[in-house]
Amino acid sequence: MDNKQDVWQGTLALMVLRTLEARGAMHGYGIARRIEQVSGDRLMLNYGTLYPALLKLEQEGYIASEWGVSENNRKAKFYKLTRAGRAQLKKETRQWEETTDIIARFFAPEESV
């Protein structure tokens, strides 16, 4: 259980960065909904777990936040990608692809290795 959560945190950060890259500034609720949508509702996300991840990314300087007003006129905190965040996303995307590629090889038929 605990280990799984850790993996979650890591991938969650990547998902947040990717979402913000695709959609521009968004508030926490919006990010959460978007992640669920993109996953085709196959991911069950406790929205509460998103906020520590957002804070961590902000502290690391990959995202920045400011208060604004939502499409439905609610006051909300909006997050957007910083330049450092973009670079980090690129790096992590590359790493992710490499990891999945390696893992994929293990599940590929024997002779192709």
């Binding site: 509460g48 804070l55 502290q59 300087g61 939502s70 439905n72």
Partner: protein
């Protein structure tokens, strides 16, 4: 970069907490609101919309907590909180806190003080170049004194013949009247050969050291002075070099100032002069042994090799000079060894004792912590039950014990300072003379770390017990008494405390019995109301013996007439003062003694009235009168009983003729009286054969006045000073003390050790009593219900009393038994400090457990009485 940035932000996050909290709450509220809005739009009821939004979000408080955790360093925050909680908890339980902190402070303070002393006295390297290669070279006398002073002639032959020492030098110490013309004081002086200071590798602060030419007879008189003398008396400016002062009424030129803190063997020395041995003189004629010799080993030569070669040389000298050197050997002893061997046993014993005390203190604190934990088991269980992590609870416990440890440590360090200052006041003079105690900060750090470690260790112990999955038991546990693991552990700890206390008490008991024994020893004289002081007249102005005799007779006449003086006299060396002349003698009508088998005796020269003034009883014959104290009177001697016993057993001593090798001419003289023995160096040593001269025939220029007074002896200090200065204003009156002080100083070492060990054992006894009380009081509380049942079933109060006392006493008896065994094994180390009592003294070993058990009974009685008075209904109702 991200990590570093994050660290800085989290650090900053320690501040602006309120604002952050508000923002977080607002953000989460807006999140939920938006979710609810969406849910409503998709057609849910208001209640369902809220429910779903919450459900989807997960625990709101959990999310907040993890955001908080990430936004700053929670560890720091919680530590701070734990700390405040711990301090609050300790304040709420001041008895516990005070007991624990005091235990630690006492243990740490005492051990820190003793360690600091030991470090300064035993462990520090001596402040010379390669001090490990410096050796004292002693002669070994035929009777076996391994630290006999050295003959100048033998020294010169050693120096010429040995191949093991790089250099060799001699010195001796004497008091010297010193004056700058305005004021006169007696200072301690070392006379040394010129190669001594270069051998030590010291440089003067100002000026220069002695040259070889200055170390010859009839060379101009030059001196080095101490920094202290330079600063306090001679103005501390550079003009002092080349300045002329008076030493022993001779003009002496100051050629240099030694650096601050420099000393060689004796920290009291303020003045150094070259000795000026005469290369042309045969010192085996008309001179005895009176020098101390120090030498530096050549590189690569071990002490044993040096000892072997010096022994060979001594054998050769024995053949060459049978009269002077037969039976004499050499002892090569490391300089440090020669300095500390006297006090080493005392210090080591104290180190051991203080280690025991520290152990008792730590055990006591462990015990208190365990007791506190036990009474808080429920609180811990509740805290775990409502969601505190186990780690959190353990951390809380550790924070508390570390807080205690730190408080105890800081207090201990402060206490140590006072103890060191106090110790130096009561310490024997040879241990503490002018010593500049330096505190080693590594030791202080160690002292601070130790209680923290104890705190962590014993904070962990209950912590682990708490951590083990017996939460529910902690909650469920009511007063149905189970003296659980903690209870047994505590009983063991008390047994350990008792055992350690027994060891300390036994040591203290033996030393106290020694002290009582020493105080009961008859010194051979009556020290009450005796004033003593020393006056030395300079040879430079009093050349002739008749002048010396005149001065002292005149002074004695005036002093004897002072109001309040009952009797007055003078002696060359006071008994118990650690120094006296000694030499060979011959008895008329007997064949001359074979070389090496001479008859030895201690020699004192006295003025008329000495024996009456000192209260030394006359056994036979008569004492000296004024008529004897003239230069042309016949040589007559008085001897002591030890002399008669050793050399004239069964003979009539009166009328026998003896000749004492003290002077250029040593005519035979008649023994006219026999007086009682006086102890020589110390009360625990046998008296030595002694021959008394009348002052006129052995006119010492330095004499110690002794005054039997009718009033407080020290009240005469002023009047006698005026008398001496009235005769000669240039004379210092030195070492003004009462005879009682002189006698007391001879057992200062034992007093010092006994005092400290006594103090330590009292503290440890107290700690053990607290431990016993704590364990029993707690077990009575735990067993309230059980006791109630017993009472309800008809148990008498006396039976309950015995029950509780018995359970405590089992532990105490076990501890006392083990402790007695330990003490048996350890008190042998005290042997050299004991007098009149054996290391396994039956009285002490019987008394100590009795004292301890009595104290233990008293400590156990309070809780036992409480138990016996429990009203059964109250007891049963007790939760």
């Amino acid at each position: 970069m991200g990590t570093l940035r994050r660290f800085a932000i989290r650090l900053a996050g320690l501040f602006r907490k309120r604002r952050r909290e508000l923002e977080l709450a607002e953000e989460l509220a807006s999140h939920l609101q938006m979710h609810v809005d969406d849910n409503l739009r998709s057609g849910m009821s208001a209640a369902e919309a809220w429910r779903q939004a919450r459900l989807k979000f997960g625990g709101i408080d959990l999310a907040k907590e993890s955001v908080r955790e990430a936004s700053t360093f929670m560890t720091l925050e919680t530590t701070w909180r734990d700390l405040r909680y711990a301090v609050r908890g300790l304040r709420g339980n001041p008895g516990f806190a005070a007991a624990a902190i005091l235990s630690l402070a006492l243990g740490i303070g005492a051990s820190l003080a003793i360690f600091t002393l030991a470090d300064n006295l035993l462990l520090r390297p001596l402040p010379y170049r390669q001090p490990g290669r410096l050796m004292m070279v002693w002669e070994v006398s035929p009777p076996g004194n391994h630290r006999n002073v050295v003959s100048p002639a033998n020294y010169r032959d050693w120096k010429a013949q040995n191949k093991v020492f790089e250099s060799m030098a001699v010195f001796r110490e004497e008091p010297a009247a010193f004056t700058d013309g305005a004021r006169v004081e007696e200072l301690q002086e070392q006379l040394m050969s010129a190669d001594l200071l270069p051998m030590l590798g010291v440089q003067p602060l100002r000026g220069r050291l002695f040259t070889a030419a200055e170390d010859l007879p009839n060379a101009p008189d030059v001196a080095l002075i101490s920094y202290r003398l330079w600063q306090s008396w001679l103005g501390g400016d550079d003009g002092v070099i080349g300045h002329t002062v008076q030493v022993r009424s001779r003009p002496v030129t100051v050629i240099g100032v030694m650096p601050p803190g420099f000393y060689f063997r004796n920290r009291n020395v303020d003045l150094w002069e070259p000795m000026g041995l005469d290369p042309a003189r045969d010192y085996r004629k008309l001179a005895g042994r009176y020098l101390m010799c120090v030498a530096r080993l050549k590189p690569g030569i071990a002490r044993d090799a040096a000892q072997a070669q010096m022994t060979t040389i001594a054998r050769r000298l024995e053949t060459d000079f049978p009269v002077f050197d037969t039976g004499w050997r050499v002892n090569v002893e490391p300089l440090r060894e020669s300095l500390v061997s006297e006090v080493r046993t005392s210090i080591l014993v104290l180190l051991g004792a203080v280690g025991l005390l520290l152990a008792v203190a730590c055990v006591n604190v462990a015990n208190l912590l365990l007791a506190r934990y036990t009474s808080r088991r429920r609180e811990m269980a509740v805290r775990v039950a409502i969601g505190a992590g186990r780690g959190r609870v353990v951390r809380q416990l550790i924070t508390e014990s570390v807080t205690l440890g730190l408080a105890g440590g800081v207090l201990g360090v402060a206490l140590a300072r006072w103890i060191v200052l106090g110790l130096l006041k009561v310490a024997p003079a040879d241990l503490s003379r002018n010593i500049a105690i330096e505190v080693d900060y590594r030791i202080v750090l160690f002292a601070l770390a130790l209680p923290m470690l104890t705190g962590i260790l014993f904070g962990l112990a209950p912590g682990f017990v708490a951590g083990r999955g017996d939460l529910m038991r902690g909650l469920r546990e009511d007063s149905r008494a189970s003296v659980g693991g903690a209870g047994r552990l505590r009983a063991w700890l008390v047994a350990v405390e008792v055992a350690l206390s027994v060891v300390l008490l036994a040591g203290a008991g033996l030393l106290f019995r020694t002290l009582v024994g020493l105080q009961g020893v008859d010194p051979g004289l009556n020290p009450a109301r005796l004033l003593t002081f020393r006056v030395e007249i300079p040879r430079a102005r009093y050349r002739e013996p008749v002048q010396v005799r005149e001065f002292f007779s005149r002074a004695m006449g005036q002093i004897g007439r002072l109001p309040g003086v009952e009797a007055a006299s003078a002696v060359s060396y006071l008994p118990f003062n650690g120094m006296a002349a000694g030499t060979d003698l011959a008895i008329a009508g007997r064949p001359p003694a074979k070389p090496g088998e001479g008859l030895g005796a201690t020699i004192r020269t006295v003025m008329p009235g000495y024996f009456r003034t000192m209260g030394i009883p006359l056994k036979r014959g008569r004492v000296f009168t004024d008529a004897d104290n003239t230069l042309d009177s016949l040589y007559r001697f008085i001897v002591n009983e030890a002399f008669v016993e050793k050399y004239m057993a069964g003979e009539e001593p009166l009328g026998q003729q003896i000749s004492v090798a003290m002077d250029f001419k040593n005519p035979f003289g008649e023994i006219i009286g026999v007086v009682g023995d006086v102890k020589e160096d110390a009360l625990d040593q046998a008296p030595e054969p002694t021959v008394y001269y009348i002052h006129a025939h052995l006119a010492y220029a330095g004499m110690v006045f002794v005054l039997r007074t009718k009033v407080d002896p020290l009240s005469l200090a002023g009047p006698v000073r005026r008398v001496i200065h009235g005769i000669d204003a240039g004379l210092p009156v030195a070492q003004m003390r009462t005879m009682e002080t002189v006698v007391r100083e001879t057992f200062a070492r034992q007093t010092f050790s006994a005092l400290l060990l006594g103090g330590f054992s009292l503290v440890s006894l107290l700690l053990a009593a607290v431990g016993i009380y704590g364990v029993l009081a707690y077990s009575v509380t735990e067993r309230t219900r059980e006791i109630g049942v017993r009472v309800a079933l008809g148990a008498e109060p006396g039976r309950i009393l015995r029950l509780v006392l018995g359970s405590g006493m089992r532990v105490v008896l076990l501890g006392a038994l083990v402790g007695t065994g330990g003490a048996m094994a350890l008190t042998g180390l005290l042997k050299s400090l004991l007098y009149g009592v054996r290391a396994h003294d039956a009285v002490t070993f019987a008394a100590v457990p009795v004292v301890l058990i009595a104290v233990a009974l008293a400590a156990a009685y309070l809780p036992a009485r409480r138990a016996s008075r429990l009203a059964p209904m109250d007891a049963l109702r007790a939760e």
